[in-house]
């Protein structure tokens, strides 16, 4: 799951340089090759017709009873009936407004943070407060909110929180690892290299097994971290190793003169890192950083394997209701579309950022 080199956004192919522009008809049927390609395309499109029929024309959008969904097309009514379960899992229905608030809070915070102009220490503090608020909202137990144990958390809030928290917690760790690997001191470098290569050499499923089954045995007796926390730890370490490599790329692209100038001015190491090195290094690697963000959003779905009740697990358990005939395909398509919206959103945002950087450096 290391798609560091490619971008996720939909990009028009840029080169090779265009051959002479041809009229549209000629482009499609001009020579044998184009005609064959056109024929293939038409065949592909024809093959999509049954899928289209299933998904749209023959679909059941509303039904009086689940058994009306028997024949032919997709049963979107199932999604309508089960949306609550898929989106919120086993969260107590009377408290689900809290889960909604958490989702809104995360989305709101992300929207607020979109503009690079607002990136400063204050925003970081606001994020800290927001995350605290999310955890309190989900968990309850204070301010008259009935407590909800993490075993009842589920659905979209869990997916979003796992993604945001794992990336957020991984970032400082990744910066340390990257600095360690790039630095001159041999021991931190060895430690960083070992950690990064170890984690990157393992499948995330392996790390999740360690977190779910092994980690409790490694903790001092009497210590327990619940399963959600342990899963988050595994995701965080995984993200940190990949982010570290991205940031290292940014550090490598940094002009040595910047550091030399800072050192000549007598700026202390950490101030130099915080004010001079990191801002530039990160700006250099925005596309792969957002790629890693997308990879991590997608990776949260793997927690299904260790039995954490995220959106995908919730969708799968929703499909076990015997009243509805075999609605798995619809449920997975629904979940896929939510993931797509999130990931594609990040990809578009990444391109917006890149344009901003380009404008600043060239303009």
């Amino acid at each position: 799951m290391s798609e560091q080199t490619a971008t996720y956004g939909f990009m028009e192919p840029q080169s090779p340089p265009k051959t002479a522009r041809k009229p549209f008809f000629k482009l499609l049927f001009g020579d044998l090759l184009s005609a064959t390609l056109s024929a293939v395309t038409v065949l592909l499109l024809l093959a999509l017709i049954p899928a289209f029929n299933w998904a749209v024309l023959d679909a059941h959008w509303t039904v009086r009873s689940p058994s009306d969904c028997q024949s032919g097309g997709a049963c979107w009514a199932f999604i309508g009936a089960k949306a609550r379960l898929i989106l919120f899992g086993l969260y107590p229905p009377s408290e689900q407004w809290r889960a909604v608030l958490v989702i809104l809070l995360i989305v709101g915070m992300i929207l607020v943070s979109l503009s690079p102009k607002l990136w400063n220490a204050r925003l970081l503090a606001v994020w800290g407060v927001a995350v605290g608020a999310m955890l309190i909202l989900m968990g309850g137990g204070v301010a008259g909110l009935p407590p909800v144990p993490t075993s009842k958390w589920g659905g979209l809030p869990v997916t979003l929180m796992l993604a945001v928290l794992s990336l957020g917690l991984a970032f400082p760790l990744a910066v340390l690892l990257a600095l360690g690997r790039r630095g001159r001191l041999p021991i931190p470098r060895a430690v960083s290299i070992f950690t990064i290569e170890l984690v990157r050499g393992l499948p995330l499923v392996g790390l999740l097994f360690v977190a779910a089954i092994l980690l409790p045995l490694l903790l001092p007796p009497g210590w327990t971290i619940d399963k959600l926390g342990r899963t988050l730890a595994a995701l965080t370490i995984f993200a940190a190793a990949y982010l570290a490599e991205v940031i290292r790329g940014g550090l490598q692209g940094l002009d040595e003169g910047q550091i030399e100038a800072a050192e000549a001015l007598g700026i202390p190491y950490w101030k130099m890192i915080w004010h001079i090195v990191l801002p530039q290094a990160i700006q250099n690697v925005i596309p792969p950083l957002t790629n890693t963000a997308i990879v991590m959003v997608k990776n949260t779905s793997l927690v299904l394997i260790v039995g954490v009740f995220d959106m995908l697990s919730a969708a799968r358990s929703a499909t076990t209701d015997p009243a509805w005939p075999a609605p798995s395909t619809e449920a997975y398509l629904f979940v896929a579309s939510i993931y797509f919206v999130i990931c594609f959103g990040i990809a578009i945002y990444s391109r917006y950022l890149e344009r901003g950087v380009a404008a600043r450096t060239h303009g």
Partner: protein
């Protein structure tokens, strides 16, 4: 660098300073005010949340009985859904206090890090098949594909049955219960194997029409499904054992949730000791003397629990069978409360 150092030293300091408290499970549960039980990922009748998220089932109520004994509140319980392979590590590491989750009592499990308490359900391992295939016994299953969930003893049973009868069964192994069940109902396999109680639960709650499916035994051997606790805390083992015993004994004495108060003035010394009117029993366990009375008052006796969750009053409609009292030809046998 410095920051990393500080964090690491802080973590180390915390780790070193925090004393490894040799706390007993009883003290821990009392301090926490809640009992934490492992549960299945949803087997209605044995352990599953209802529409409102309230956990119900025979195993769940066994856990509630312990909560009543220790904390005097049947709702002071948190349930942690666990998959088959996570349940035993979770118990061993203290993530949960007890594991009432259709766990078959086997020598290997008993010897390797957990203690089994008192069986709360006796059952054979069974196959469920669609009736339309016309198969009613194991010997006819030649060549059948069988959906199996990993994390259970049934994987081994499939293999043993297949070898013994030379059936050439084709197992399709899934890592979780939901996937195995779904695959069975979609027609991926001819049969589903697990303990017959869970099969009845699956049939009653997941089949579009339960009458279309037949369940028959895979072996002639009975399994004892038994709540477990971890090694190394004998007092806690005793508490769980005798909480379950209280349920069985209450049925043997004819005590029910409704009539138990009328027995408070009973002259029978056994019943008086059971109810705690004559003191001593509870104290020996580190509980209050009326713990058995409180369990029955809150949850009823074993028979009531059975009928409510898996028997006549439930969608599963299981008969008592081997789970009847010994006086009715079953295996449920109360030990002496003295």
């Amino acid at each position: 660098m410095k920051k990393k150092l500080i964090t690491i030293t802080a973590a180390l300091a915390l780790g070193l300073v925090s004393p490894a408290l040799a706390e007993t499970t009883l003290e821990k549960v009392k301090e926490r005010g809640r009992l934490i039980c492992g549960s299945s990922q949803g087997t209605p009748g044995f352990g599953a949340p209802d529409d409102k998220g309230y956990w119900r089932g025979l195993d769940v109520e066994t856990c509630r009985a312990v909560a009543v004994a220790v904390l005097d509140d049947k709702d002071a319980v948190d349930f942690v859904p666990l998959s088959g392979q996570q349940r035993i590590p979770a118990l061993q590491t203290g993530e949960i206090d007890m594991l009432p989750r259709t766990l078959t009592w086997t020598l290997q499990r008993d010897a390797n890090g957990i203690n089994l308490t008192t069986p709360n359900y006796f059952e054979y391992t069974g196959f469920m098949m669609p009736k339309k295939l016309g198969i009613t016994k194991v010997e006819d299953m030649s060549g059948a594909s069988v959906c199996v969930q990993t994390g259970s003893t049934t994987e081994v049973v499939v293999n043993d049955v297949s070898t013994k009868n030379n059936l050439g069964l084709k197992p399709v192994v899934f890592d979780n219960t939901t996937a195995a069940r779904q695959a069975f109902f979609s027609g991926r396999c001819d049969a589903l194997i697990t303990d017959a109680g869970a099969l009845a639960s699956v049939r009653a709650t997941m089949a579009d029409n339960p009458d279309n499916y037949i369940i028959f035994p895979a072996t002639k051997y009975m399994d004892a499904l038994t709540p477990a606790v971890r090694h190394g805390d004998d007092q806690w083992l005793d508490i769980v054992n005798w909480s379950i015993q209280a349920l069985i004994a209450a049925e043997a004495f004819g005590l029910t949730q409704k009539n138990i108060d009328s027995f408070k003035k009973s002259d029978d010394p056994r019943i008086r000791r059971f109810l705690g009117t004559d003191p001593g029993n509870g104290q020996a366990l580190g509980l209050s003397d009326d713990f058995a009375y409180r369990i029955v008052k809150a949850l009823g006796n074993y028979g009531e629990m059975f009928e409510r969750n898996v028997g006549k009053e439930s969608p599963l409609k299981l008969t008592r069978g081997r789970n009847a009292l010994f006086t009715d030809g079953g295996l449920m046998f109360p030990l002496a409360f003295q």
